[in-house]
Symmetry: C2
Subunit: 78 residues, 2 copies
């Protein structure tokens, strides 16, 4: 069964670089990778906050948040 990976971003240049490199480097045979744009899908901001995401881009692997470089604070997207 695939593990869950969620990549949260907001379309910023730092986000795009992280998506193109880190998110795409994940092993898709082991991870079900979902890409979520929090700038256009603001309804999912609370779910990101709930697992500890503070800024984007961020990769959440099985519920654990990993902030990748820095694009924007989550609070800036509201």
């Amino acid at each position: 069964m695939s593990k869950k990976a969620i990549f949260y971003h907001a379309g910023c240049p730092v986000c795009v670089a992280a998506e193109d490199s880190v998110a795409r480097a994940l092993d898709s045979s082991r991870y079900d990778v979902e890409i979520v744009h929090l700038g256009t899908d603001k309804a999912r901001i609370p779910e990101a906050e709930a697992v500890g995401v503070k800024s984007i881009p961020a990769l959440v692997l099985e519920g654990a948040p990993f902030h990748i470089n820095f694009g924007a604070h989550l609070s800036d997207l509201k």
Copy 2:
């Protein structure tokens, strides 16, 4: 041919979490993943600095640095 991925760390708890999750989630069929402990292998600090690594843990994918959460500044390891 495999692409090069280097995960730099220094054994800190944040580093270990990132290694166990992010570094191991990479697709090993596409990436040759090298793990480098800069605390014990200080000779490789200049190489990390040269590609833009500022703090660890950091993942360098084909020469592009991605800082993952924050464990320590590279300067703290010297």
